[in-house]
Symmetry: C2
Subunit: 400 residues, 2 copies
């Protein structure tokens, strides 16, 4: 009887696993099911662009039926509401459906971490999905229109971005590029617009090469972005934010990019978690389980120095590729011939908006155009890996 | 000593007066001052288009310095805060400036009339200026984005338009045209969108030819617009509206087009007013004053049957033309040779959105394309009258 492979989530990790299996396995070798909340995949690493309004959200969306061969993968558009790996080995969906499995791949992606900061959940926008960034874009334009009707409210033109990690930095860079366009459209004096990036840690882009961080800050300051580093946000209200040092900043828009955590469903698996993520074994398995794999933002993998790799698209994709190989061998040989997963850091690039970026590949630091090209290479390599040349042609140029 | 002519307002009436005088008089014959809140004039009869988002608001804006010859007209960008025609013969501006005059032309346009309906001022949008319609457009898009993030709130996609007069009818026609575009952009099922036009009077377009009104309603119903005629709105809240019959309709957007009144400054002149408008004498003068003229939406002119003409761009323009002639003769002959003003109704056309309109010229009724062409003729005739051929070429095609 053909083994049932159940993949939860069509983000970087889950989609890569599914598409690799689709390529490797013949339609009769395994019964593959992919569950995802939306019927599309999106380029999460570029959400900051439609959020700022510089790119149409539809451009970073990829319909799953463009990628999935329905003869080989059974796709279910639904939300996972419960995962029981301990007793019934069953996954429950919001449509009431219950799914069993021989091999389970959990790749549900991350959720926003607000660290319990008061009012953040209620009043801050987050860069987490196509819908959430569309809302940010529309809200920004709405604030310009409101300011034109109530010029007595300069705070409508103040945009606070909480968090100066990759998403925060890439978003403020993009937003700074959008502002002149909005000022022209609404006939607003650009001097009246403020973009304030607030970071609790002692540095922006924590953990990134300090020299490159300085470069990034310089570039963004020249674009008009203000920074408050080493400044925790204490609370967020309808009116703006209150900082730990007591300062209050009025703002019509607060976008929170300050943290991600795993998935609440991960916390209900009955396994020890760190911020809703699970420390998987070297074979990407949930500790104590032979047939439950956890990848992407739901998993934690440690490097040689024993520090966890940050959750990135890059590691999720490599996990998916690795896992697909293992599952294939299992399907073919009845048993899983296990190989330990090794993350190969190909490089890290952060865009700073039009024409600017910073990046590190191995020990090589790059800035400006070189870094941008590097980013485009990484993007296109991924598009190629999931959709081949047609997808690169269709979406590639639009990114980076 | 050259007479001081002071014109308040650069809408249809005031601008026409100023531009006719600029054409007629030599720069040394009179000292003409034009005061306006903005440094631009706008095509009020087309505000419903940028409100719906089908036309860029900038397209219906005309910078005054494109029309005004600074050697002949002294333009002041300021808001009028007080008019004293009884004692000091002085007009006070929000910049503190005080202006005297030999001839005063009051053409300050209308304000929104809410008939004291509870909550309307606070919660309803109004189609009254470039800025106010830009806000409506952005709000509509924002509601689509909000719905995508909170699908449990269908009311975000309900758009209530209070008033089925010309503005209301033209707006719902335009909005109905915009919806499919928005549904595609935000990937929303058009069936979920509601446009409800609510009118207190027993008929839409009160006073307009019943046969044409029926035609209009048919066209708009086919575009998906719902009508509640003979249904007064009792109250407007953040959640929507309550009707006189007690029905509550939840809506994320309420646009009020149900009425206009003159200007609060008119009510402070010490002359009897009807809804902040003044019944001028046959020479367009404020009753009891030789040198104070009131035109456009601030004035009331009665027809042969003793019914007041509705305030329209058409009558305002004709008043301006008439007044300019009188002022010219006054400047030339020292005394005003007065001619009674006769309104010549050239025709009335209401657009119903893309490709559809209704109109009446004399006794000739027209619909569809014919009516649209008629509308364009009227629009272009006006553009020509204020800006000549260049303006027709620049803006003409964009309208209608």
């Amino acid at each position: 009887m053909t083994p049932k492979i159940l993949i939860l989530g069509a983000g970087y990790g889950g989609l890569t696993t599914a598409l690799r299996l689709q390529k490797e396995l013949h339609y009769n070798e395994a019964d593959i099911t992919l569950v995802n909340k939306h019927d599309y995949h999106y380029i999460t690493t570029h959400l900051h662009q439609p959020a700022a309004g510089t790119v149409d959200p539809r451009r970073i969306k990829i319909d799953l039926d463009e990628l999935i061969d329905k003869d080989r993968i059974n796709f279910i558009k639904a939300e996972v509401v419960a995962i029981d790996i301990q007793n019934e080995r069953k996954v429950t969906l919001d449509n009431g459906q219950g799914l069993t499995y021989d091999i389970l791949v959990i790749a549900l992606g991350s959720e926003v971490e607000t660290f319990g900061i008061e009012g953040l959940k209620e009043h801050a926008f987050t860069i987490r999905s196509i819908n959430s960034v569309q809302l940010i874009r529309e809200h920004i334009e709405y604030m310009f229109a409101k300011y034109k009707n109530e010029p007595g409210h300069p705070e409508y033109l103040t945009f606070i971005v909480g968090g100066a990690g990759f998403t925060g930095i890439e978003f403020v860079g993009e937003l700074a590029d959008r502002i002149p366009e909005l000022c022209e459209q609404f006939e607003v004096n650009p001097k009246k617009v403020r973009i304030i990036n607030i970071e609790a840690a002692p540095s922006a882009l924590p953990g990134f090469d300090p020299q490159l961080v300085d470069y990034a800050i310089e570039v963004l300051k020249n674009k008009g972005v203000e920074f408050k580093i080493n400044t925790p946000i204490k609370a967020c209200t309808e009116e703006g934010v209150t900082l730990a040092d007591g300062e209050e900043i009025k703002a019509g828009t607060v976008v929170w990019t300050g943290g991600v955590r795993g998935n609440k469903l991960i916390e209900m698996l009955g396994i020890e978690t760190m911020r809703a993520r699970i420390k998987v074994d070297e074979f990407l398995r949930a500790p104590g389980y032979q047939d439950v794999f956890i990848i992407g933002d739901n998993s934690i993998v440690f490097n040689e120095e024993g520090r966890p790799y940050p959750p990135t698209a890059q590691i999720a994709v490599q996990q998916g590729e690795h896992l697909a190989k293992q599952i294939t061998s299992y399907v073919r040989n009845g048993k899983m011939d296990l190989k330990p997963f090794k993350f190969n850091l190909r490089g890290t690039v952060a865009s700073l908006g039009k024409g600017e970026a910073i990046g590190k590949v191995g020990n090589r630091k790059m800035t400006g155009y070189t870094a941008l090209i590097m980013k485009q290479l990484i993007d296109n390599r991924y598009l190629y890996s999931i959709g081949g040349l047609p997808l690169v042609i269709k979406k590639g140029k639009l990114l980076g």
